[in-house]
């Protein structure tokens, strides 16, 4: 029967598909492969760290560098999906500093206990250590950190502003703009958090108690003032790279950004790097020291990993001071171990090493809370676009949204 022929063909096709689809994967014997999921670091630092640690491992394990996208949101999406799918493929995770509480609560990472706890935190700067602690346990080992500095044109700016207000007024007077990250993404939360912390406030605490207060209005006020007086075009879609490009083009004499902009300027080879000056992140409140943002990567161990013991050792090796120095030189990523800041090689890579260390030591981490991604989304929705902010409104809207976010509702 013709129908029968066709049906047979159909079944064959399905069978072939199943074979093809299910094939692949599964290694042989030998050293266990540990997959390290982390963003694609273009300077070659992570590659070198992997090579060094594989040599040191002498066959006990072999680290495989799995590259994630550059965008922090995209990284989280991918990693969360796999962890939620109980994937045993993930051994070591290059975690953004804000993921700790969420992953710990969801039981997606293993805690560092016993002697490992000390290994993870000894000799590290205070700022990064706060980002690996949750509910009394340590959940990752700090690897690299990051913070933002105020960069300015030495040839255009005579007096370096101390506060945001001063900087905005100066830029207005000069008819130039200030480069910031105003897109609706994690970078906006970084800015908002730094402003609020600089006014002495916080947003939510570990247990989910909402602490939105007048510091929120103050932050909104500053952002709105900048957006409507000293902002470059496209500020509301600018991320870190757009800010860097804007500063290099000369349309702004100020930018607030991570340290990678210094190395990038060096690549330009037109003497631009020599015109760059650096200073501490601006103050929100003239009477209180600024609280610079803290970023960076911590290394966590996947809860479903089949080789947890080796993974802990591998992560410890990857985060060693030696590899941190390589990350600084090749990737422009500041170290988390205090002693590395005294290394002359580091001072050569970062002429501003001391300022970095100080900023990280005194910086403010973003809220530590398992619902962090929701909270960040709530902040982003409230503060975007910065040009349309109304300070009083922003405070009540943020409080409302964070309430809902912490309760797991739609906001």
């Amino acid at each position: 029967m013709r129908g029968g022929n066709l049906a047979g063909l159909g079944l064959a096709a399905i069978w072939i598909a199943a074979l093809v689809g299910c094939g692949g994967g599964g290694g042989g014997g030998g050293a266990p492969t540990l997959n390290w999921y982390v963003f694609n670091e273009p300077g070659g630092a992570y590659e070198q760290a992997v090579k060094t640690c594989n040599e040191k491992a002498q066959g006990r394990y072999k680290i495989n560098y799995v590259r994630l996208p550059t965008d922090a949101n995209a990284q989280r999406e991918l990693v969360v999906r796999r962890l939620a799918a109980k994937d045993s493929d993930i051994d070591i995770i290059g975690m953004d500093v804000v993921w700790t509480a969420e992953f710990a609560e969801a039981k997606w990472i293993k805690p560092w206990t016993g002697p490992r706890r000390l290994t993870a935190t000894e000799g590290k700067l205070r700022g990064p250590v706060t980002t690996v602690r949750y509910k009394g346990k340590v959940w990752a080992i700090p690897f690299t950190t990051n913070t933002q500095l105020l960069w300015y044109r030495k040839d255009q700016v005579k007096r370096v502003p101390q506060t945001w207000d001063q900087m905005i007024d100066q830029a207005k007077r000069q008819g130039k703009s200030i480069e910031v990250q105003g897109n609706q993404y994690e970078g906006l939360t970084v800015w908002v958090n730094a402003l609020i912390a600089g006014a002495g406030g916080s947003i939510v605490d570990q247990s989910g108690n909402v602490k939105v207060d007048a510091s929120t209005s103050r932050a909104a006020e500053i952002m709105q003032k900048l957006a409507n007086g000293a902002a470059p075009p496209g500020m509301a879609t600018a991320k870190e790279d757009e800010a860097r490009l804007g500063f290099e083009s000369g349309r702004s004499n100020f930018q607030v950004n991570y340290s990678f902009v210094y190395a990038s300027a060096g690549d330009l080879k037109n003497g631009f790097q020599k015109k760059m000056g650096w200073a501490r992140y601006p103050r929100t409140d003239p009477g209180k020291p600024s609280r610079p943002p803290i970023g960076g990567i911590n290394l966590g161990i996947g809860a479903y990993s089949k080789h947890a013991n080796q993974a802990f050792d591998a992560a410890t090796c990857l985060a060693s001071p030696e590899n941190q120095l390589v990350a600084a030189e090749k990737g422009g990523l500041p170290p988390t171990t205090e002693s590395v800041y005294n290394d002359p090689k580091l001072k050569k890579a970062f002429p501003f090493a001391e300022l970095l260390r100080q900023s990280i030591e005194q910086g403010a981490a973003r809220p530590v809370n398992p619902a962090y991604s929701d909270i960040s989304l709530a902040i982003q929705k409230t503060f975007h676009p910065p040009g349309s902010l109304s300070p009083g409104d922003a405070q009540s809207k943020l409080r409302d949204r964070i309430d809902k976010a912490a309760e797991g509702k739609i906001f």
């Binding site: 096709a13 689809g21 963003f39 796999r82």
Partner: protein, 276 residues
């Protein structure tokens, strides 16, 4: 029938407008892909300097190559299965008489209207539990399901036009049923099947939402999903050039298909949508 010069001129302008409408965005992406990194912001439609750097970049890592393999394989297999299943159903719907035809066709119509977002959550959870997450079958199954209505409609319309009595005539002339099928029906049905396959392939090639949510590594991630996750030169850099180059690479097969088979495709689309 002579055409006045005015009519010819008017029609030529119309033709040009249509061509520009279709090609300007494609030319723009091509232009972006050929711009060197330093000129990406120069606001020019045509590049000042031409460079193949972006193409080098996307082929230098395995990410894009894997994505291409995934796209071709997954879309291809989904198309194959979908056409086979749809051909069987279309044969029944166009040749045989039975109650329930309307139900099946209405049901297929309903599936075509379905919002994919409504089932990605469930599929994510189910695939998680049965281990189909981030695998080829994990994508092939939703693809073949959502292309079935299109395939069934297109094939039904084509099959309705086939003179089936020729098969009977061949058998009267001494051919076995299988020979009659192979030598008479298959050549008549082939164009329709081929057209339906093209339409289905385009549909599967195009999908983003399933590819995005049901995969997480280049084991199964197709090109549209990979484009959204491309990495740039530095930690914070926008990979405009790379995305443009990848876009052109993934568009070329479509353009070739369209150029060679435009008559078939149009016939398939209009036959499937409205019985003309």
């Amino acid at each position: 029938m002579t055409r006045t010069p005015r009519e010819i001129a008017a029609w030529s302008i119309g033709l040009l407008v249509v061509l520009l409408y279709a090609m300007i965005p494609v030319m723009w992406i091509l232009s972006l892909s050929l711009k060197p990194a330093t000129e990406l912001g120069d606001k020019r439609f045509i590049p000042k300097d031409f460079s193949l750097d972006n193409y080098d970049t996307i082929f230098s890592t395995s990410e894009f190559k894997h994505a291409l393999v995934n796209s071709i394989g997954i879309a291809g297999i989904a198309t194959l299965i979908s056409i086979v299943l749809a051909a069987m159903a279309a044969y029944a719907l166009s040749r045989l008489d039975f109650a329930g035809k309307t139900v099946i066709l209405s049901g297929a119509l309903a599936v075509a209207m379905f919002p994919p977002i409504s089932i990605v959550g469930s599929l994510f959870n189910i695939w998680r539990d049965v281990g189909l997450y981030d695998t080829w079958p994990g994508l092939i199954i939703p693809y073949m399901t959502f292309t079935l209505p299109l395939a069934i409609y297109t094939l039904s319309a084509f099959f309705r036009e086939i003179p089936w009595e020729l098969e009977q005539a061949a058998q009267v002339d001494g051919a076995t049923p299988w020979q009659a099928f192979r030598k008479v029906i298959v050549p008549l049905a082939a164009p329709g099947v081929f057209t339906a396959a093209i339409l289905v392939f385009i549909f599967a090639w195009n999908d983003f939402i399933f590819a995005n949510t049901l995969t997480s590594t280049d084991n199964a991630r197709t090109v549209p999903a990979t484009l959204a996750f491309f990495t740039g030169g530095s930690q914070f850099e926008q990979p405009i050039g790379a995305i443009s180059a990848a876009s052109i690479v993934v568009t070329i097969p479509i353009i070739i298909m369209v150029l060679f088979f435009q008559r078939r495709i149009v016939a398939g689309l209009t036959a499937g949508a409205v019985k003309g």
